[in-house]
Protein backbone atom coordinates (compact mmCIF):
# COMPACT_ATOMS: atom_id res chain seq x y z
CA UNK A 1 0.00 0.00 0.00
CA UNK A 2 2.95 2.35 0.38
CA UNK A 3 5.03 2.84 -2.65
CA UNK A 4 8.67 3.46 -2.52
CA UNK A 5 8.91 3.81 -6.25
CA UNK A 6 5.93 3.62 -8.51
CA UNK A 7 7.15 4.45 -11.91
CA UNK A 8 8.95 3.19 -14.93
CA UNK A 9 7.01 -0.01 -14.89
CA UNK A 10 7.93 -2.25 -17.69
CA UNK A 11 9.03 0.43 -20.07
CA UNK A 12 9.41 -1.60 -23.18
CA UNK A 13 11.53 -0.53 -26.06
CA UNK A 14 11.54 -2.63 -29.13
CA UNK A 15 14.47 -2.34 -31.40
CA UNK A 16 12.61 -3.72 -34.37
CA UNK A 17 14.76 -5.43 -36.89
CA UNK A 18 17.60 -2.99 -36.53
CA UNK A 19 19.35 -2.22 -33.28
CA UNK A 20 20.41 1.10 -34.78
CA UNK A 21 16.84 2.37 -34.96
CA UNK A 22 15.04 1.39 -31.77
CA UNK A 23 11.29 1.85 -31.90
CA UNK A 24 9.15 2.62 -28.88
CA UNK A 25 6.27 0.21 -29.00
CA UNK A 26 3.64 0.85 -26.37
CA UNK A 27 0.70 0.64 -28.70
CA UNK A 28 -1.66 -2.19 -29.36
CA UNK A 29 -0.23 -5.20 -31.01
CA UNK A 30 3.27 -4.46 -29.79
CA UNK A 31 5.13 -7.52 -28.63
CA UNK A 32 6.64 -7.27 -25.19
CA UNK A 33 10.13 -8.51 -25.76
CA UNK A 34 11.13 -8.37 -22.10
CA UNK A 35 8.56 -9.48 -19.56
CA UNK A 36 9.14 -10.02 -15.85
CA UNK A 37 6.81 -11.90 -13.54
CA UNK A 38 6.08 -11.06 -10.85
CA UNK A 39 6.80 -7.42 -11.48
CA UNK A 40 6.13 -6.47 -7.86
CA UNK A 41 7.76 -7.61 -4.68
CA UNK A 42 6.02 -6.87 -1.39
CA UNK A 43 7.89 -6.62 1.91
CA UNK A 44 6.38 -6.07 5.34
CA UNK A 45 8.20 -2.85 6.13
CA UNK A 46 10.11 -0.12 4.41
CA UNK A 47 13.79 -0.91 4.25
CA UNK A 48 13.32 -4.67 4.36
CA UNK A 49 14.97 -6.65 1.62
CA UNK A 50 12.23 -8.13 -0.53
CA UNK A 51 12.79 -11.55 -2.03
CA UNK A 52 11.14 -13.10 -5.07
CA UNK A 53 11.96 -15.52 -7.83
CA UNK A 54 11.40 -13.36 -10.90
CA UNK A 55 11.02 -15.03 -14.26
CA UNK A 56 12.16 -13.00 -17.26
CA UNK A 57 10.64 -14.03 -20.58
CA UNK A 58 12.44 -12.65 -23.62
CA UNK A 59 11.09 -12.73 -27.17
CA UNK A 60 13.24 -10.76 -29.56
CA UNK A 61 12.34 -9.97 -33.17
CA UNK A 62 15.51 -11.51 -34.53
CA UNK A 63 18.02 -14.17 -33.59
CA UNK A 64 21.09 -12.68 -31.97
CA UNK A 65 23.34 -12.46 -28.95
CA UNK A 66 21.64 -10.85 -25.97
CA UNK A 67 22.31 -10.09 -22.32
CA UNK A 68 20.25 -9.02 -19.32
CA UNK A 69 21.87 -6.55 -16.96
CA UNK A 70 20.98 -4.37 -14.02
CA UNK A 71 20.20 -0.86 -15.19
CA UNK A 72 22.02 0.99 -12.43
CA UNK A 73 25.14 -1.07 -11.89
CA UNK A 74 25.28 -2.37 -15.46
CA UNK A 75 26.15 -5.75 -14.00
CA UNK A 76 25.51 -8.52 -16.52
CA UNK A 77 23.21 -11.23 -15.13
CA UNK A 78 23.21 -13.65 -18.04
CA UNK A 79 23.87 -13.78 -21.79
CA UNK A 80 22.50 -15.94 -24.59
CA UNK A 81 24.12 -16.64 -27.96
CA UNK A 82 22.19 -16.93 -31.21
CA UNK A 83 18.83 -16.95 -29.46
CA UNK A 84 15.50 -15.34 -30.05
CA UNK A 85 13.23 -16.62 -27.33
CA UNK A 86 14.47 -17.57 -23.90
CA UNK A 87 13.74 -17.38 -20.18
CA UNK A 88 15.72 -16.55 -17.08
CA UNK A 89 14.87 -16.86 -13.39
CA UNK A 90 16.42 -14.28 -11.12
CA UNK A 91 16.63 -14.70 -7.36
CA UNK A 92 15.56 -11.11 -6.68
CA UNK A 93 16.51 -9.56 -3.35
CA UNK A 94 16.43 -5.81 -2.88
CA UNK A 95 15.04 -3.17 -0.57
CA UNK A 96 14.44 -0.85 -3.51
CA UNK A 97 12.87 -1.12 -6.93
CA UNK A 98 15.31 -2.33 -9.56
CA UNK A 99 15.34 -2.02 -13.33
CA UNK A 100 16.76 -4.55 -15.76
CA UNK A 101 17.76 -4.08 -19.38
CA UNK A 102 17.89 -6.39 -22.34
CA UNK A 103 20.86 -5.45 -24.46
CA UNK A 104 22.25 -6.56 -27.77
CA UNK A 105 25.60 -8.08 -26.96
CA UNK A 106 27.28 -6.92 -30.08
CA UNK A 107 25.88 -3.40 -30.23
CA UNK A 108 25.43 -2.80 -26.51
CA UNK A 109 22.14 -1.07 -27.33
CA UNK A 110 19.36 -1.21 -24.79
CA UNK A 111 16.47 -3.04 -26.41
CA UNK A 112 14.04 -3.13 -23.49
CA UNK A 113 13.77 -2.17 -19.84
CA UNK A 114 11.58 -3.60 -17.12
CA UNK A 115 11.31 -2.70 -13.46
CA UNK A 116 10.66 -4.87 -10.43
CA UNK A 117 8.83 -2.65 -7.96
CA UNK A 118 9.45 -3.07 -4.27
CA UNK A 119 6.45 -2.06 -2.16
CA UNK A 120 5.72 -2.55 1.49
CA UNK A 121 2.63 -3.10 3.57
CA UNK A 122 3.23 -1.23 6.79
CA UNK A 123 3.78 2.50 6.92
CA UNK A 124 4.56 2.35 10.60
CA UNK A 125 7.17 0.04 11.98
CA UNK A 126 5.82 -1.34 15.23
CA UNK A 127 7.90 -0.18 18.10
CA UNK A 128 7.09 -3.21 20.19
CA UNK A 129 6.61 -6.56 18.58
CA UNK A 130 5.08 -8.36 21.51
CA UNK A 131 1.45 -8.68 22.38
CA UNK A 132 0.17 -9.24 25.83
CA UNK A 133 -1.80 -12.30 26.59
CA UNK A 134 -2.92 -10.26 29.56
Amino acid sequence: MYFKLVSVNALTLIAGMSVHQPVLANGEGATEILHAAPSKCVALNEGRTCYADVKFSINTPVVGDYCIRESTSKKILQCWAQSQSFEFVLGFGSAESMSYELISKSQRDVLAVTTIEVNWVHKIRTKKRRWRLF
Binding site: M1, K40, V42, A43, L44, N45, R48, T49, C50, Y51, A52, N119, W120, V121, H122, K123, I124, T126, K127, K128, R129, R130, W131, R132, L133, F134
Partner: protein
Amino acid sequence: MKKIIIFIILLCASFYSQAELDEYDDDEFLWQLSLGGFWVDLALPELKGAESNFDSLTMLVDAKIQYKRFYLNSHSGDFFGGSDIGYQLIIEDDWGVDVIYGNYQIPFSNEGYFDSETYIPELEGIKERKRDQSIGFSYYRTIGEYQAVAELVYDTLGDSNGWVLHFEATRNFELRNWDVWLNFGANYYSANFIDYFYGVDADEARSSRPIYEMGHAVSVFTQVQANYPIAEDWVFSAGASVLVGASNTRKSPLINSRHARAVFAGVKYVF
Protein backbone atom coordinates in the same frame (compact mmCIF):
# COMPACT_ATOMS: atom_id res chain seq x y z
CA MET B 1 -0.03 7.57 45.91
CA LYS B 2 -1.74 7.79 42.53
CA LYS B 3 -1.42 11.56 42.47
CA ILE B 4 2.27 11.32 43.33
CA ILE B 5 2.86 8.82 40.48
CA ILE B 6 1.04 10.99 37.96
CA PHE B 7 2.94 14.06 39.17
CA ILE B 8 6.32 12.33 38.84
CA ILE B 9 5.52 11.07 35.35
CA LEU B 10 4.29 14.46 34.16
CA LEU B 11 7.34 16.12 35.67
CA CYS B 12 9.69 13.73 33.86
CA ALA B 13 7.82 14.13 30.58
CA SER B 14 7.90 17.88 30.86
CA PHE B 15 11.59 17.96 31.78
CA TYR B 16 12.69 15.73 28.94
CA SER B 17 10.38 17.38 26.43
CA GLN B 18 12.22 20.64 27.03
CA ALA B 19 15.66 19.07 27.10
CA GLU B 20 15.42 16.67 24.21
CA LEU B 21 14.39 18.68 21.19
CA ASP B 22 16.54 16.87 18.71
CA GLU B 23 16.67 15.21 15.36
CA TYR B 24 14.30 12.46 16.39
CA ASP B 25 11.31 14.77 16.55
CA ASP B 26 9.20 14.20 13.48
CA ASP B 27 6.20 16.38 12.77
CA GLU B 28 4.67 13.86 10.43
CA PHE B 29 1.40 12.39 11.61
CA LEU B 30 1.41 8.68 10.79
CA TRP B 31 -1.54 6.37 11.05
CA GLN B 32 -2.39 2.88 10.01
CA LEU B 33 -5.56 0.89 10.26
CA SER B 34 -5.85 -2.85 9.79
CA LEU B 35 -8.97 -4.96 9.52
CA GLY B 36 -8.82 -8.71 9.56
CA GLY B 37 -10.38 -12.03 10.32
CA PHE B 38 -8.66 -14.41 12.70
CA TRP B 39 -9.22 -17.81 14.16
CA VAL B 40 -8.38 -17.69 17.83
CA ASP B 41 -8.08 -20.47 20.37
CA LEU B 42 -7.79 -18.89 23.78
CA ALA B 43 -7.54 -20.58 27.16
CA LEU B 44 -7.44 -18.22 30.11
CA PRO B 45 -6.79 -19.21 33.73
CA GLU B 46 -9.86 -21.24 34.53
CA LEU B 47 -12.34 -19.28 36.62
CA LYS B 48 -14.41 -21.60 38.77
CA GLY B 49 -17.69 -22.36 37.08
CA ALA B 50 -17.06 -20.03 34.14
CA GLU B 51 -16.18 -20.61 30.53
CA SER B 52 -12.47 -19.98 30.16
CA ASN B 53 -11.76 -21.58 26.79
CA PHE B 54 -12.73 -19.66 23.69
CA ASP B 55 -12.41 -20.96 20.15
CA SER B 56 -13.85 -18.76 17.45
CA LEU B 57 -13.46 -16.71 14.32
CA THR B 58 -13.10 -13.11 15.30
CA MET B 59 -12.72 -9.71 13.72
CA LEU B 60 -9.58 -7.79 14.42
CA VAL B 61 -9.22 -4.03 14.15
CA ASP B 62 -5.76 -2.58 14.68
CA ALA B 63 -5.02 1.11 14.84
CA LYS B 64 -1.58 2.63 15.01
CA ILE B 65 -0.96 6.32 15.37
CA GLN B 66 2.35 8.09 15.66
CA TYR B 67 2.91 11.81 16.07
CA LYS B 68 6.12 13.37 17.23
CA ARG B 69 7.06 11.22 20.21
CA PHE B 70 3.60 9.93 20.94
CA TYR B 71 2.40 6.55 19.77
CA LEU B 72 -0.75 4.49 20.11
CA ASN B 73 -1.03 0.83 19.23
CA SER B 74 -4.57 -0.37 19.72
CA HIS B 75 -5.77 -3.92 19.23
CA SER B 76 -9.40 -4.88 19.32
CA GLY B 77 -8.93 -8.61 19.78
CA ASP B 78 -8.98 -9.74 23.37
CA PHE B 79 -6.12 -12.10 22.69
CA PHE B 80 -3.92 -9.14 21.83
CA GLY B 81 -4.35 -7.50 25.18
CA GLY B 82 -5.66 -3.99 24.61
CA SER B 83 -3.72 -0.89 23.78
CA ASP B 84 -0.30 0.57 24.27
CA ILE B 85 0.00 4.30 24.53
CA GLY B 86 3.42 5.80 24.92
CA TYR B 87 5.57 8.87 24.83
CA GLN B 88 9.23 8.50 24.00
CA LEU B 89 11.12 10.41 26.67
CA ILE B 90 14.65 9.44 25.72
CA ILE B 91 15.72 8.11 22.34
CA GLU B 92 19.28 6.94 21.95
CA ASP B 93 20.78 4.67 19.31
CA ASP B 94 20.47 1.42 21.21
CA TRP B 95 18.32 2.33 24.20
CA GLY B 96 15.47 4.55 25.25
CA VAL B 97 12.89 5.35 27.88
CA ASP B 98 9.16 5.77 27.28
CA VAL B 99 6.28 6.79 29.47
CA ILE B 100 3.66 4.13 28.88
CA TYR B 101 0.04 3.33 29.53
CA GLY B 102 -1.21 -0.22 29.23
CA ASN B 103 -3.11 -3.13 30.73
CA TYR B 104 -1.42 -6.05 32.42
CA GLN B 105 -4.29 -8.19 33.65
CA ILE B 106 -7.51 -9.28 32.03
CA PRO B 107 -10.69 -8.29 33.92
CA PHE B 108 -13.49 -10.55 35.06
CA SER B 109 -16.66 -10.42 37.10
CA ASN B 110 -19.29 -12.73 38.52
CA GLU B 111 -20.28 -13.39 34.90
CA GLY B 112 -16.85 -14.69 34.00
CA TYR B 113 -14.35 -13.14 31.64
CA PHE B 114 -16.52 -11.62 28.95
CA ASP B 115 -19.81 -10.58 30.59
CA SER B 116 -21.69 -13.63 29.45
CA GLU B 117 -24.81 -12.54 31.34
CA THR B 118 -25.09 -16.00 32.75
CA TYR B 119 -25.43 -16.80 36.41
CA ILE B 120 -22.35 -18.57 37.73
CA PRO B 121 -22.96 -19.91 41.25
CA GLU B 122 -19.25 -20.36 41.96
CA LEU B 123 -18.62 -16.67 41.31
CA GLU B 124 -21.79 -15.34 42.89
CA GLY B 125 -21.17 -12.32 45.06
CA ILE B 126 -17.70 -11.38 43.88
CA LYS B 127 -16.99 -7.79 42.98
CA GLU B 128 -16.02 -6.84 39.47
CA ARG B 129 -12.27 -7.01 38.79
CA LYS B 130 -11.84 -4.11 36.41
CA ARG B 131 -9.05 -3.95 33.91
CA ASP B 132 -5.97 -2.29 35.35
CA GLN B 133 -4.97 1.01 33.80
CA SER B 134 -1.31 1.15 34.49
CA ILE B 135 1.08 4.00 33.83
CA GLY B 136 4.82 3.91 34.21
CA PHE B 137 8.16 3.80 32.50
CA SER B 138 9.56 1.47 29.91
CA TYR B 139 13.30 1.09 29.48
CA TYR B 140 14.36 -0.73 26.34
CA ARG B 141 17.76 -1.67 25.08
CA THR B 142 19.24 -3.62 22.21
CA ILE B 143 21.47 -6.38 23.51
CA GLY B 144 23.10 -8.30 20.70
CA GLU B 145 20.32 -9.79 18.63
CA TYR B 146 17.71 -9.15 21.31
CA GLN B 147 15.52 -6.22 22.18
CA ALA B 148 15.17 -6.20 25.95
CA VAL B 149 12.46 -4.26 27.75
CA ALA B 150 11.85 -3.54 31.42
CA GLU B 151 8.60 -1.84 32.39
CA LEU B 152 7.67 -0.57 35.82
CA VAL B 153 4.04 0.52 35.99
CA TYR B 154 1.57 1.46 38.68
CA ASP B 155 -2.16 0.91 38.34
CA THR B 156 -2.66 4.65 38.46
CA LEU B 157 -6.11 4.90 36.93
CA GLY B 158 -7.40 1.52 38.10
CA ASP B 159 -8.56 0.17 41.42
CA SER B 160 -5.80 -2.19 42.55
CA ASN B 161 -3.31 0.28 44.05
CA GLY B 162 -0.64 -2.14 42.93
CA TRP B 163 2.29 -2.20 40.57
CA VAL B 164 3.84 -4.52 38.02
CA LEU B 165 7.41 -5.07 36.94
CA HIS B 166 7.58 -6.56 33.47
CA PHE B 167 10.68 -7.97 31.75
CA GLU B 168 10.91 -9.37 28.28
CA ALA B 169 13.31 -10.05 25.46
CA THR B 170 12.46 -10.35 21.79
CA ARG B 171 14.48 -11.86 18.99
CA ASN B 172 13.41 -11.16 15.45
CA PHE B 173 14.20 -13.43 12.55
CA GLU B 174 13.88 -12.24 8.97
CA LEU B 175 13.47 -15.37 6.86
CA ARG B 176 13.21 -14.03 3.33
CA ASN B 177 9.87 -12.18 3.32
CA TRP B 178 8.73 -13.83 6.54
CA ASP B 179 9.03 -11.96 9.77
CA VAL B 180 9.23 -14.26 12.77
CA TRP B 181 9.74 -13.08 16.29
CA LEU B 182 10.22 -14.95 19.51
CA ASN B 183 9.53 -13.29 22.80
CA PHE B 184 9.90 -14.42 26.39
CA GLY B 185 9.78 -12.76 29.76
CA ALA B 186 8.31 -12.48 33.24
CA ASN B 187 5.94 -10.33 35.26
CA TYR B 188 6.29 -9.51 38.93
CA TYR B 189 2.99 -8.40 40.47
CA SER B 190 2.90 -6.56 43.77
CA ALA B 191 0.65 -8.05 46.45
CA ASN B 192 -1.93 -5.27 46.08
CA PHE B 193 -2.09 -5.73 42.34
CA ILE B 194 -2.57 -9.48 42.20
CA ASP B 195 -4.72 -9.61 45.32
CA TYR B 196 -7.20 -7.25 43.63
CA PHE B 197 -7.76 -9.90 40.97
CA TYR B 198 -7.40 -13.23 42.75
CA GLY B 199 -7.87 -12.42 46.42
CA VAL B 200 -11.19 -12.92 48.19
CA ASP B 201 -12.34 -10.14 50.53
CA ALA B 202 -14.45 -10.75 53.63
CA ASP B 203 -17.58 -9.44 51.94
CA GLU B 204 -17.07 -11.88 49.08
CA ALA B 205 -16.50 -14.95 51.23
CA ARG B 206 -19.00 -17.79 51.22
CA SER B 207 -18.99 -21.23 52.77
CA SER B 208 -17.37 -22.62 49.64
CA ARG B 209 -15.18 -19.58 49.11
CA PRO B 210 -12.93 -18.66 52.04
CA ILE B 211 -11.23 -15.34 52.49
CA TYR B 212 -7.94 -15.40 50.59
CA GLU B 213 -5.20 -12.83 50.60
CA MET B 214 -2.54 -13.13 47.96
CA GLY B 215 1.02 -12.07 48.38
CA HIS B 216 3.15 -10.94 45.50
CA ALA B 217 3.23 -13.23 42.48
CA VAL B 218 5.23 -13.95 39.37
CA SER B 219 4.31 -15.19 35.92
CA VAL B 220 6.47 -16.24 33.01
CA PHE B 221 5.52 -16.26 29.37
CA THR B 222 6.72 -16.96 25.88
CA GLN B 223 5.30 -15.93 22.54
CA VAL B 224 6.04 -16.55 18.90
CA GLN B 225 4.52 -14.83 15.91
CA ALA B 226 5.04 -15.09 12.16
CA ASN B 227 3.97 -12.49 9.61
CA TYR B 228 4.04 -12.72 5.84
CA PRO B 229 3.04 -10.15 3.20
CA ILE B 230 0.60 -12.01 0.97
CA ALA B 231 0.02 -9.03 -1.31
CA GLU B 232 0.44 -5.29 -1.31
CA ASP B 233 -2.16 -4.68 1.40
CA TRP B 234 -2.59 -8.11 2.93
CA VAL B 235 -0.67 -9.76 5.72
CA PHE B 236 -0.93 -13.28 7.05
CA SER B 237 -0.20 -13.69 10.74
CA ALA B 238 -0.04 -16.66 13.04
CA GLY B 239 1.13 -16.89 16.59
CA ALA B 240 1.07 -18.68 19.90
CA SER B 241 1.55 -17.63 23.48
CA VAL B 242 1.80 -19.44 26.77
CA LEU B 243 1.75 -17.93 30.26
CA VAL B 244 2.26 -19.70 33.56
CA GLY B 245 1.42 -18.02 36.85
CA ALA B 246 2.99 -18.62 40.26
CA SER B 247 1.76 -21.42 42.47
CA ASN B 248 0.07 -19.05 44.91
CA THR B 249 -2.17 -17.89 42.08
CA ARG B 250 -3.50 -21.42 41.84
CA LYS B 251 -4.39 -21.34 45.53
CA SER B 252 -6.95 -18.62 44.93
CA PRO B 253 -10.53 -19.87 45.58
CA LEU B 254 -11.55 -18.16 42.33
CA ILE B 255 -9.56 -20.18 39.83
CA ASN B 256 -8.76 -23.75 38.93
CA SER B 257 -5.64 -23.25 36.84
CA ARG B 258 -2.74 -20.86 36.53
CA HIS B 259 -2.04 -21.40 32.86
CA ALA B 260 -3.09 -19.38 29.87
CA ARG B 261 -2.46 -19.87 26.19
CA ALA B 262 -3.47 -18.34 22.90
CA VAL B 263 -3.10 -19.61 19.36
CA PHE B 264 -4.25 -17.59 16.39
CA ALA B 265 -4.00 -17.43 12.61
CA GLY B 266 -5.57 -15.12 10.09
CA VAL B 267 -5.23 -12.41 7.51
CA LYS B 268 -5.65 -8.68 7.74
CA TYR B 269 -6.06 -5.86 5.28
CA VAL B 270 -3.82 -2.88 5.92
CA PHE B 271 -5.28 0.48 4.86
